[in-house]
Amino acid sequence: MTSETRKTVGLVGLFDDPDSLMKAAEACRDAGFRKWDCHTPYPVHGLDRAMGMGPSPVPYVTITAGFIGIGVALLMQGWMDVIDYPIRIGGKPLWSWPAFVPICFELFVLFAAGSTLGAVLFMCRLGRFHSPLHDSGVMADITSSRFAIVLDAEDSKFSPQASEELLRKAGCTDVRPLVENTGEGEAH
């Protein structure tokens, strides 16, 4: 592995407890960073506020998809049982709407849940397997026991020294450059 294939793409500051992380995050937020993130082994309560993030838009997707599900269910049942092939069943009217309710509900849930999963995958940018965190050798710590702040070099506020200083001032004792393997070769 040659150094040419490694590129510094930012800074990562590691913490051992959520409180320090929170403080550092607030500092970063206040410093006006935009392209940055915190990485934690578990969801840390209050971190969203500390990072200055708004609420997740996932519920809007869910509720919209759910109502689409109800619409699909109603149209499907109505068209199939009333319009396309009206079959007389058990003396019940063709448009037996009470009987159509369970399936409307089920399709509401199915559509809502499916779209929620899709939205999560999309919004969490999942399906990208590479990460500079791997290349920097900190991923294992993050998914196990440590907390990290990652500042992206592309952020307009980013400068290697000043940003490191910001993190250290905020209480981070372990600041490392965030590197990424850019070569085609397999790392490690």
């Binding site: 079959i87 007389r88 003396g91």
Partner: protein
């Protein structure tokens, strides 16, 4: 119609039109294979090449006359069922008979048909039939057999000919010619389920040979002394029709209704229909009849006194006596064929006293030959014979007392003519394969002067010959009978007989013959005066004491297999007993008290012994059987070549020998003892209690007199609340059915007719035991009251075609849905088999193919010819049920639409309706105010079964009306408003 059956020869499978219906399962299998093939094809890049295997249409080379592919042709014919000659009408499609109906113009059955008649179709296509003559176990040629017989006949040695009793006039003539041509020959008649004892008694008291036939249509009071005239004693189809007429109650008109009194030992179909039933041991019947006679003669207390001494219900017997006394000229007494002469003599005296001859017909030329005394046959055979010819009899199975094999072995040459390789056929040196009734020419004598003509509707399927044809050839081969020289074959001989006989007055014989073929019947009834009773002789006979012990044995022919001749018929074996609903078996039937006394319960094996003979049978405990009576039936325990009916049940032939020839079917000194062990007897219905549900409504004249709307008040109408509008069925057709419970006697003929029409599979005893029978129509039976003498209700159940069909609602795939004419359709090819519909059906008329019953039953391609091509054959995993014979409805309505004519009421007849001898069932259009079914619905007797379920059924029942004698205190009628 033509006298040339060759024209209608079965020609293989000539076109798609006559291709037997492949079970839909084929398709699913095919689909599966297709999918399999698809994956292969996709892989190998050959999509689009996957089709069903090609099928061919084979048009005929030449078109037969009259025959339109796929369209039915009807032939009139005749058939003798046990002892009774009925007429039948056979529907053939593309040259194969597929359904038998009663002949509408026949004087005895008038279009009705019995289960046996229906089931005779099944035996035509029975794969276990003998297919060629056999010498021992080897296939033989007819020529060799004929040569052998001729040699023996010419040898001058002793020849014995044993036939059944039901020989037609031409057959009798042939036998006479045979006896003339072979002077050393003796002819005997062998039957077990016969009325020999009764005919002998009549001969003695009336001084003439003949038979008495009830003619009940005008009778007001009927007393049956153990005579199951609605079940299996006599011309039941006619009796049921006549009896049903006397029970017909049009709104409020109950005054002309008959009253049926039954004094009987077992529990019979007749007993089930009784207004008053007196369970009594057979030995006491003569005494009862004589006591009644004494009462009629003025000794007022005689009947009651006898009842007291005999342990009978005094009030009932007293009422019976007064009813008879009040009904002279309108009353009639019938006595069972199995009873000793004393009872018949007493009945004759009673009838004379009651001036009953208006309700009895004297038939001077009975349809059947008198039966020979087995002792005479034994005597003729014991010394050894050169040639023993057995035509259509099976003495090895049913010889009274058993042991015919030894006699048979003494014959140098024994020749059996049989439809099957039965017990006797297997023991004979030569076995000749008989043709089926549907492949034969024959005639019958239903009434004096009236001849039935039986014509073949299909060429013999196998290398077979009818019995009479063999007899004809043998006699002709002797060359001694000059008149036979003009006849080529048996068919010519029948023509000759008719030319000389019934058609003799006709100027144009050919025309008259063709007309007879078309009608199936010829000649006119010659009435005979009722002979005078020899009263002193009768009194002498009636005075003879009848030995009667604590346990008395009655042997009756089986309701379905009769004396065993239909033992191989699956349709008949699976037809439940009309009283106990047993299938595939017979049993020793005991009443509750007798069983309790013996310490046995249903299914326990017992030994029934009488006169040194014994038979082992399982017990069936049947409410209503008189104390001290064991009732058994003939016809089971056979050893048959096929799997069906083989070893089903137990043979009681040995017991027939217990009392010699006088009363072979009754023994007054029987014993029943537990034999240890149990045997599974299967009843199709196990619960006979209505548990207070609105299933049957009954009423009686008194109640109706008080309130003509009594039945309507007992109906359990559902509430009016409807949360949604129903579909409108008031336009176009709306099919419905009416079933008159007051006419239905519960004979179960409809069940077999339905099986034949609708390709209903049989499932076998094991599956019946698991409650998986497939009958689309069944006759439910309910008992109320005293378990030792219950009131019985019979109720045919079909699919009710409910407007609010609960089955439809729950089917996930729309496999059952309503049509615009109000029918609940069942689409077999759509059904996935969830069984949810059957769960939700309150009437339990849906039946699931738990296995591929039809497919499993098919062993031979010939069986496929049986299927009605108008009805899909169902495969495994499919729900099926009564369709109101939609194929018949469609046939008629399509034709009417094509011709732009309205559908006439009565043009559409369901198979059950057509078979019903009581005319209790009617299928029709509820939107047609004049139709029978509309009128039934409007009747004040109309009700619906389980009406409170609000499923809106379309089968309208008419209430059962009982006609109790006012002197007898009756428990309340069933179905009181709650």
């Amino acid at each position: 119609m033509s006298q040339m059956p060759e024209k209608f020869r079965y020609q293989g499978l000539p076109s798609r039109e006559v291709e037997p219906r492949t079970p839909p399962d084929e398709y699913s299998r095919r689909e599966a294979i297709k999918l399999l093939a698809a994956s292969v094809a996709l892989a190998s890049g050959l999509p689009g090449c996957i089709r069903k295997p090609p099928r061919t249409i084979i048009s005929q080379a030449q078109s037969p006359e009259y025959q339109h592919p796929g369209m039915p042709l009807y032939y009139a014919s005749a058939w003798t069922e046990g002892q009774v000659p009925y007429g039948m009408m056979i529907r053939t499609v593309d040259g194969r008979p597929i359904k038998i109906e009663g002949l509408p113009g026949h004087p005895l059955n008038r279009g009705a048909s019995s289960a046996q008649m229906q089931a005779s179709l099944l035996s035509l296509y029975d794969p276990d039939r003998l297919r060629n003559p056999m010498k021992g176990k080897d296939k033989a040629k007819w020529a060799d057999a004929d040569a052998k017989v001729r040699e023996a006949l010419q040898g001058g040695g002793s020849v014995v000919l044993i036939t059944r009793s039901s020989l037609g006039p031409s057959e009798r003539a042939m036998v006479e010619r045979f006896l003339r041509a072979v002077p050393t020959a003796k002819h005997f008649v062998h039957e077990t389920a016969h009325d020999g004892a009764r005919r002998t008694a009549w001969k003695e008291v009336y001084g003439a040979d003949g038979e008495i036939r009830p003619s009940l249509s005008k009778a007001r009071v009927i007393l049956s002394l153990d005579a199951d005239f609605l079940g299996n004693d006599g011309i039941t189809l006619k009796n049921i029709r006549d009896f049903a007429q006397t029970r017909s109650v049009e709104d409020g008109g109950v005054k002309s209704m008959s009253r049926l009194w039954v004094a009987e030992s077992g529990m019979s179909v007749t007993g089930s229909n009784a207004d008053h039933r007196i369970p009594v041991q057979p030995s006491k019947l003569a005494g009862l009849a004589m006591a009644l006679l004494e009462t009629l003669e003025g000794k007022a207390e005689a009947a009651k006194a006898f009842a007291k001494s005999a342990g009978l219900d005094e009030s009932v017997v007293g009422a019976l006596a007064s009813d008879l006394a009040a009904s002279a000229g309108a009353a009639v007494v019938l006595a069972g064929a199995h009873l000793p002469a004393a009872v018949h003599a007493a009945a004759a005296l009673l009838n004379a006293k009651l001036q009953a001859s208006a309700h009895l017909e004297w038939c001077a030329s009975p349809a059947t030959l008198p039966v020979s005394d087995p002792a005479e046959i034994r005597a003729a055979l014991e010394g050894g014979t050169d040639l023993l010819i057995l035509l259509g009899v099976n003495p090895v199975y049913d010889w009274p007392g058993g042991g015919f094999e030894a006699l048979l072995a003494k014959a140098r040459t024994s020749v059996a003519h049989s439809l099957f390789a039965d017990e006797t056929a297997r023991a004979c040196t030569w076995t000749l394969a008989s043709s089926h009734n549907l492949e034969s020419w024959n005639d019958t004598l239903p009434e004096p002067g009236v001849y039935g003509l039986c014509q073949p509707v299909i060429s013999p399927l196998w290398d077979t010959r009818q019995e009479a044809e063999s007899l004809f050839r043998w006699v002709k081969s002797l060359g001694t009978d000059g008149e036979l020289e003009s006849c080529q074959d048996w068919h010519d001989f029948v023509r000759l007989e008719w030319k000389k006989g019934v058609l003799q007055p006709a100027s144009d014989f050919e025309y008259a013959w063709e007309s007879s073929l078309r009608a199936g019947i010829a000649g006119a009834k010659t009435a005979a005066a009722f002979p005078a009773l020899n009263e002193s002789k009768a009194r002498e006979l009636a005075g003879q004491s009848v030995a009667g012990g604590a346990m008395q044995l009655v042997i009756q022919p089986h309701h379905a297999v009769l004396d065993g001749r239909f033992g191989g018929s699956a349709w008949l074996q699976e037809r439940p007993d009309p009283v106990s609903t047993i299938v595939w078996d017979n049993a020793a039937v005991l009443g509750h008290s007798t069983a309790a006394k013996l310490g046995v319960k249903e299914g326990d094996l017992v030994t029934v012994s009488a006169g040194g003979q014994q038979a082992k049978l399982p017990v069936v405990v049947q409410p209503g059987v008189a104390a001290g009576v064991v009732a058994v039936t003939l016809g089971h325990g056979r050893s048959l070549p096929g799997a069906i009916g083989d070893q089903a049940g137990f043979s009681v032939a040995k017991l027939l020998g217990a009392k010699g020839s006088a009363t072979p079917r009754f023994a007054g000194d029987a014993t029943v003892a537990p034999a240890g062990g149990t045997y599974k007897v299967v009843r199709l219905q196990t619960n006979f209690d209505m548990v207070g549900r609105p299933i049957v409504i009954d009423t009686n004249p008194a109640e109706l007199a008080k309130d003509a709307q009594a039945v309507q008040k007992k109906r359990h109408l559902p509430g009016d609340a409807e949360i949604h509008a129903s579909f409108d069925y008031s336009k176009g057709h709306k099919w419905g059915m009416s079933i008159d419970l007051n006419k239905c006697v519960g004979c179960n003929a409809c069940m077999t007719a339905c099986m034949a029409e609708n390709n209903v599979p049989i499932v076998g005893k094991t599956e019946c035991a698991l409650d998986r029978e497939m009958h689309w129509i069944r006759v439910d039976r309910y008992h109320t009251g005293n378990p030792d003498n219950p009131r019985v209700y019979t109720e045919p159940m079909v699919c009710m075609q409910c407007d609010n069909a609960p089955c439809e609602l729950v089917c996930p795939v729309d496999a059952t849905a309503h049509s615009e004419d109000g029918l609940n359709a069942q689409v077999y090819n759509r059904c996935v088999g969830t069984r949810y519909c059957a769960n939700n059906c309150p009437y339990k008329v849906r039946h699931f193919n738990f296995y591929g019953y039809t497919g499993d039953w098919l062993k031979d391609p010939v069986q496929e010819l049986l299927f009605n091509p108008r009805v899909t054959v169902r495969s495994r995993g499919v729900m099926e049920k009564c369709t109101f014979c939609i194929q018949r409805i469609n046939e008629v309505t399509f034709k009417a639409k094509n011709e732009k004519k309205p559908v006439v009421d009565g043009a559409i007849r369901a198979a059950c309706e057509q078979a019903c001898p009581a005319a209790a069932i009617s299928l029709g259009d509820l939107n047609d105010p004049a139709s029978l079914v509309s009128r039934a619905r409007q009747s004040s007797l109309a009700f619906l079964v389980l009406e409170d379920q609000n499923v809106r059924p379309n089968v309208w029942y008419k209430a059962r009306v009982r006609n109790p004698h006012p002197d007898v205190h009756e428990p309340a009628a069933e179905g009181q408003a709650h």
